[in-house]
Symmetry: C2
Subunit: 191 residues, 2 copies
């Protein structure tokens, strides 16, 4: 039996992202869990940002942002960046996270995050009280010692230990066991 | 040290979703891992669908779709629905998954998926070769025995065992350990 829960804004798991906007001393960190790749060609990410967010101003000023994937080691810092506004405090100073230069955009990356993306804003889509910011992914970075190359270049996820977010219960969770290879395990089923 | 990987379409973890489109005997299942909530008010989901996908035709015809979250028990069926086109076969018949009626849209839900969303298309956004389909979430369903209500109504994630997708390595993974409470664990950090 299924229970109707009403119209919830709930999808799981969600990726935990630290989105940096702003340049130099103005750089700010915002925690975002509503986002996804939205195109493979050109590679594009979409992040949903509430209209009132301070980071939205900074993204609009510079037309760029970076997405940084925290490991579970920095779950407290990741959560903190969703609790306070960059309008009132410097979250790099508060958390001790380190801003480092990328190569294409001026907005910094977060050194402690094992995977980073540089993004240039290409579109904004208004959806109710949120702005869906679309950014072309112009470069990505991975900690050098966290790369595997079995068949194709890939992060070593077990080593990276990225966070997942599960809404309503408000749980951050670490990576689970591998339970199948995509584009492969389904071949056991015949038409 | 960080290694530049180039402009990748890679964000992790990604939710594994079975998107149903079409009505009655035409109902089709498509596996989607590029999607996210994009607005809380009104609750809206965005899913990225390649322009050439058969499901895009069905979504456009009916202006609705459902999103169904598979558990790891049906990882093979979930993968299968990403391997073949609904233009050539009936994936409900092939997989044995069961189409059941929702209450608002005519597109069916998948009974075996513990969490389901009914969605009405509100916008389409063209992003390169992909169409980002935005749908207002008009109803959600959860298996009755998989609900917890600690502080707020929530799915019991450990019981649901949803899948995560990790790109490039092409790994499906199950849920990991809880490693923090959101909007809480960050309070240990002071300005």
């Amino acid at each position: 039996m299924k229970k109707q829960l009403g119209p919830l804004d709930l999808l799981f798991p969600a990726p935990v992202m630290l989105v940096v906007s702003g340049i130099g001393d103005n750089a700010n960190i915002m925690t975002v869990v509503w986002g996804s790749i939205v195109s493979g060609k050109p590679p594009t990410i979409g992040i949903a940002v509430h209209k009132n967010r301070y980071s939205l101003q900074l993204i609009r000023e510079n037309k760029e942002f970076t997405v940084n994937i925290p490991s579970k080691d920095i779950v407290s810092q990741a959560d903190y960046c969703g609790l306070v506004s960059g309008n009132k405090t410097n979250k790099f100073m508060d958390t001790g996270l380190t801003a480092i230069d990328g190569s294409i955009v001026k907005t910094p990356l977060i050194k402690e995050c094992p995977y980073n993306m540089e993004c240039k804003v290409t579109q904004e889509v208004e959806v109710g009280d949120w702005i869906l910011v679309l950014g072309e992914i112009v470069e990505t970075y991975l900690d050098e010692n966290k790369l595997v190359q079995p068949k194709r270049i890939s992060p070593d996820y077990a080593q990276i230990q990225p966070l997942s977010y599960f809404g309503n219960a408000r749980e951050y969770r670490s990576i689970g066991e591998k339970c199948g290879e995509a584009f492969s395990i389904g071949k056991s089923i015949k038409r």
